[in-house]
Symmetry: none
Subunit: 206 residues, 4 copies
């Protein structure tokens, strides 16, 4: 007989409120940054009382972490395009777009914050960065399966290079270049992917 979960008495939580709050949180964060990221503004933007907010998350950080997760995790899925290069271009393009988006900035920022205040946010760091890393790692595993790269090639440096170069590419981009990158992501992504491709290429046997 299936467990009858106890179904708590009283008014049930409005399931809609979770989403509305996380959206509001990301919008607010993207707009104003961490300073100026106010609980009452988030609540107000979501059309919700503060109590509903604090019932779900203990403080600002936890709210933001949850919100970030909800948009960052989908990035970790990597459809098979048939070739290593295709897979990398595809993943890199999606990551680039993400980082060019206000919500992506938020991811970035939170990522770094999590590394800084490493006491409080360790789990987050593991979940977000870990997920993204393992997404890209899968690509290399598939490529090794296809025989495109040597199966004993160390993968971690390649993943870090790809992910990291995208990060720095966005960070070091002057403001006016952002629009350009949004329009023609491939042109920005290819040079970075090619670094990886050359580094991963089978060494020519003598």
């Amino acid at each position: 007989m299936p467990e009858e979960q106890p179904r708590p008495i009283g008014r049930p939580r409005d399931p809609d409120i979770n989403e509305r709050l996380m959206s509001a949180a990301l919008e607010e964060y993207a707009q104003t940054g961490w300073s100026g990221f106010t609980m009452q503004r988030v609540a107000q933007r979501a059309g919700v009382g503060k109590s509903a907010l604090y019932r779900r998350w203990a403080d600002r950080e936890q709210l933001l972490v949850a919100s970030i997760e909800s948009v960052a995790l989908p990035l970790a899925t990597t459809p098979d395009s048939g070739s290593l290069r295709g897979d990398l271009i595809d993943a890199a393009t999606r990551i680039l777009h993400h980082f060019l988006d206000p919500m992506g900035w938020a991811t970035l920022r939170i990522t770094v914050d999590s590394a800084v205040d490493l006491t409080t946010l360790d789990p987050f760091q593991e979940r977000i960065i870990g997920a993204l890393n393992s997404g890209v790692t899968q690509i290399f595993t598939r490529a090794a399966g296809r025989g495109e790269i040597s199966s004993d090639l160390p993968v971690r440096p390649l993943v870090e290079s790809l992910f990291g170069s995208l990060l720095i590419h966005v960070l070091s981009m002057p403001a006016h270049e952002r629009d350009d990158a949004r329009r023609d992501a491939t042109a920005h992504v290819e040079p970075l992917v090619d670094v990886i491709m050359r580094a991963a290429a089978r060494h020519p046997s003598p």
Copy 2:
């Protein structure tokens, strides 16, 4: 002919205070993180009144930016070790150590914040990231001079890869691994440098 700047009237600012404040700011930040980074605590630690602090920087961010600059800029100098690989190992090691240090976390964070609030912090982004980037770029220029790499090899992606992979390497490092990295930086740095080396290697001529 050298301009004789007119020496402003009134009591001159105590030059010592600048340094004491920036040191205090970095120590305070390293200790407590951004939250808990309080102007009055910085002032107190420096043994200085708040007014002297606010006379120099308009708010918390600007103080921190200036403080970060003072420790981050020296990273941009790249002594010539005689070979591309040696130069890269050297630069990467110094950057890794920097990012493993609380003050380095601050650099990182401010860097990202500057990319997010791109209105207020643009100059900083340009100064810090730009300086670090151009430091690494010099290394490749020197290598091209030596004939180690082709002089028409696009350098920017390589710089971004190196710098970025170091960043991600630290970010994705579980807490317990940090100590390990501090002790044996080379072991952590070499795989990343080798990605760059393989990508930069002269393509085998047919």
Copy 3:
């Protein structure tokens, strides 16, 4: 038909806090004078946060004005002792005691300030001085009713004389005389009341 005021939503203000703050304000003011009359000290003495204070009064002056009103207004009631002289002695004694009390000094001071910054504090001036004046005026109205004084005797100068002479009496009193005045108020009050009595006396008909 009694209006049913709609009972505002949200948590209602703690009515106790009003009183505690006004008491604390008067005590603090009496102790330290205007300089040293600090919002945070008042809040602290009342065991209350600053926000609760500022939610009720916009600044120091308004807090003090409200506090003063609460102790000064009761002075305006003038019980009927049966004779003009008795009424005046009674009122004058109470006013003298009030001015000899630290809280009375505050009244005085605020009164004058209100006359000086006549833009901001007009309403106060009207309420406090007006109330006290009209209290004394009643006494003369009653006396005219009893036939003690001519009913077409101009009252305002008499009121101003009584009230004012008390004021100056206190102001010009050397410090050591204050204790004396507190112990034997009547001795200080009678000469001043007698000035009024003689001035108000029916002119002997020729």
Copy 4:
């Protein structure tokens, strides 16, 4: 032999600055009241550095006390008009004008302040109020000399009545009435003087 005061060496103080500072102080005080009465603003209005100010007076209060004295003391002189009523009208008119003037408000305010913070300002109270009182007292002395009033009539209550009623008259005056009082001072002063006159009149002999 007349003392030759040692004539201090070095640059002598600019005697002009004293006056300019006291004027500036009174104007500033009249304009903004005690709060907003700022040393640097006084200095600025006088076109003088803060050091010149602090060299002459130790703090705000002392500056203000000195400034007030300089305008209030002349009030104490009471020219002989030949009759008690004439003397009183004259003195009262001058005092009324003084209190209707911004600088007079300042006197008033300082007077009261001095009574409140009785620790710090006692000497001032004595000097200012004392001087004004003794000025009016002289009038009664003269009148007794002329035989207008009994020489054993207690004078202090009369003085306090006159001075005080003027004070309250101004304090209780609605703003719009001030201009009226400035134009036609006598009309405002006479009723108050008459109170004194009736109270001082020789008791009709039986």
